[in-house]
Amino acid sequence: MTVLHKKLFRSLLRSWAESLAVIMVVLCGTASYICLHSCYLNLALTRDTYYAQNRLADFEIMLERAPANAIFKVEEIPGVRKARARMVKDVNVDIEGVEEPRVGRIISMPVPRRPVMNDVVVMEGRYFEPGVQDEVIVSDSFARLNKLAIGDRLGISVEEKKYSLRIVGYGLSPEYVYMIRTLQEMVPAPERFGILWVPKHFAETALDMKEACNNILGEVDDPKELDAILDRADKVLDGYGVFAKVKQQDQISVRFLGDEIQGLAVNARITPTLFLAIAALILFVLLSRMVRMERTQIGLMKAYGYSDWSVALHYLQYGVILSAAGCLGGFALGQWMADGLIRVYVQLYQFPILESRIYPDVLARSLGIALAFGALGALLASIRAARIQPAESMRPEAPPLGHRVWLERVGPVWRNLGFTWKMIVRNIARNRFRAGLNVFGVAISTGLVIMGFFSLSGMEFWLRFQFQEVQREDVKISFQGERGKKTYYEMARFDHVRRVEPLLEYPFTITSDWRKKDTVVVGLPRGAEMQKLMTFKGKVVPVGESGIVLSDRLARILGVGVGDTIRLKPLMGRVEGEKRAVVRAVAQQFMGTNAYMDINALSRLLNQSFAMNAVLLRIDEDAKESVNREMKDVAGVASVVFNSDAYDSLVKTLAGSSRIMNLVVLLFAGVISFSIIYNVTSVALAERQRELASLRVLGLTTAEVGRVLYHENILLGLIGAAIGLPLGAGICWLLVKAYDTDLYRMPFYIESSAYVKAVLLTLVFVLMANLAVRRKILRLDLVEVLKERE
């Protein structure tokens, strides 16, 4: 160790609090980088190997009914490598002792086993035995949460007929990593919805589909050709009632998982960069001060013959050493957080394996990035150090030129200012750089804290909006296929049902010029109260008798606005031709890309006078169980979803994942804010030691000297916080933009309380920082300070 290294370590020790602040910020930055990045890599790797090993299909065609040999027509399409016919159907599941309806999705599998696309991974138990029909493999989490043991029997009802199947295994599938039944559900409820893999012969019998299928999977040579291939398939399968053609990338589970991974990737880039940039800024402030203070020492070193380069290197090392220290802490914290986050993902996603690997290259990269930012922060200071001329440095630095403050020219104001405030105004006006840095630091802090509160309250706002404003029903009952008025009246007659509203959800291709989107159009009755369309500000958007209301995201995708005409083509059934509709209004939504029409108008588009495939119910309090019992006996009910259950599972999931993440973000924001403010305050104090000592000698009390400093810092803090408000809103807006996907988006909604809390918290930080430097004012050695030469 050279003498310079000793000087380095002693300087670091002497300013331990400031150094620690830099280390903490770097630690937050690298920890978030490592956590988010390794989670991203783990998830992406697991997903890709899982998809490849179990041959996730490149496309899926859903149709009403086709002969099983229709797949040969599909395989003849150029570019298609292989196709698979299967039967898929949602059925009601009876579990002994469970009152709530359970929905199972039957998927037919070949017997004896052969490798197929979208294969089932048997986690426990076995595959079907040849010749036995009544066997079922149940999806893993559904089985566990409903306490279904291998060997138990499971009752299902298909089209009013009841069957009993013996559970032979627990399974998982790449098709259902994120297991929700429809897009509308958003969050998995694995105890209410499960996959039931059954032998092909059983499906043929139960669904009455001998040598037929309603679902075709396919593999292609080049996924880029998918659009053309699917258009051909549409023609080839004409007459079989094709209602959905889904590319792999549009498959529900793939999209959710993909969005999550994408979100991680975005986050892995934004958050650590922000944190490390702030670390660089703090370093810059700290080291610039150090170089100014050590001017004479630097000159002396050079006079002895140290080169510019070795002097520059000396100061660069501060940045590098602090960054390295922060990075080492970040390794541990980041890895620990990554393990925790992966555990959250295990709850949310159904993977056969989910590795939490340590990625040496991520660690190496985080070190590299942290060091780079550290060096960047130290760069300007070391360049300045290198430029110092030995002879010149022995003389005091040219004092700053003073100027008059404009406020001084406003006589009446100036004369009425107290002594303290005159001092403060002059200080700020004549040390604009230092004051600016202080304001800037506080502004960033406020912005960060707003970001922290925003991610926390954004979710709550989202939940409130969705479940208190938009989905106001108690129960949603979906049917298999369309129903008429009769079922509607039937529903209204049930006990405990206070209000019924019909709903028709139908898939369409909506086009406008060359823009095109497959989505669901929802038919609502006039004066619908249980499903409302609104703006985020809470204004209700009515669905008129004619015309169509688009969700904001859909309007953007189609590039249309109010008054424009769009074309609609049903994706299901045997309705021919395109219909037109005028966009009446745009409603704001956080989920999906739906469109909305009057239910009668939508029925007419399908050549019917009235059709519905779901009802929304408002029921008596505590009537959940009896409604459940009643619905269990209604034929053709596909699902019964209680709003409270959906809400609960959402809250549970969010409490598990997002809440923890957001709390971490808020915590990090707090640590970083305090670090910035503490360092800026402490550097400002160090630069003014001499001034403050002079004041003390003149007879100002510590309280009076402190007042000048505190009032100035609080004033600058207030200005900074005021600038931080729009800055924070800007950061949040960027986050909203970064996370915007078809499935869901974050509301750009910052509660006013978040602003208030951020400002208050920032001011608390300012006060804490001032309190922390207070001991330095108290300990100020007047004699020593004043005897040093300037």
Partner: protein, 242 residues
Amino acid sequence: MNTGNDTNHTDIFQIRGLAKDYQMGEVIVSALRGVSLSIRAGEFLVILGPSGSGKSTLLNIIGGLDSPTRGEVFFRDSDLAGYSEARRTRYRRQHIGFVFQFYNLMPNLTAEENVELATEISPDPLPPAKALEMVRLGERRAHFPSQLSGGEQQRVAIARAVAKRPEILLCDEPTGALDISTGKVVLDVLDNINRRFGTTLIVITHNASIGAMADRVVRMMDGQVRNIVENERRQSAEELDW
């Protein structure tokens, strides 16, 4: 006044058995070892001594910047040794003006504003402009320190110290950073203040020739008073043989 050795004049300070120890790691360094001294109101006292003789420590204790380890420092009737930090601050504010070798001006305040720093906290100050005129800087009061020479900056520091109308003006090597001619101007200003206002003036220096301007010269060595010499006649700054 200030001529004979009779006991008729009032003593402003009565210092008895003053000692100051500094703990430097494991070693105790004694900066003062039993100093006894009376300082008369309105006199010009020069304390001479090499560095390490304890003269600065003595000045700092008299000025209320530091407190003694043992001994008494009576300012009129009260012992500074028993003062709390807050009381010492008040004492400095009401009675003491300080001038240091380095001028310690606020670089971002004009000459006049630097003086205002003192007048703002004083109950009956000189107008800042008047204080600057006294140090012959009336013309330059709107200048910032960077626009003034070293001697001028020191005179601003003196103006700042006397603007409070202190009874005692303490100067630690006031000419230490100045050349001969500017140093003489500064000394002349100090001498003038002492004569016009009757301000007790204590100057510490290692420049023995300055002693010729004083009423009395105290020589210090190793933390003790070696001797005290009373001058027959006070020379003017102009007459000094530097």
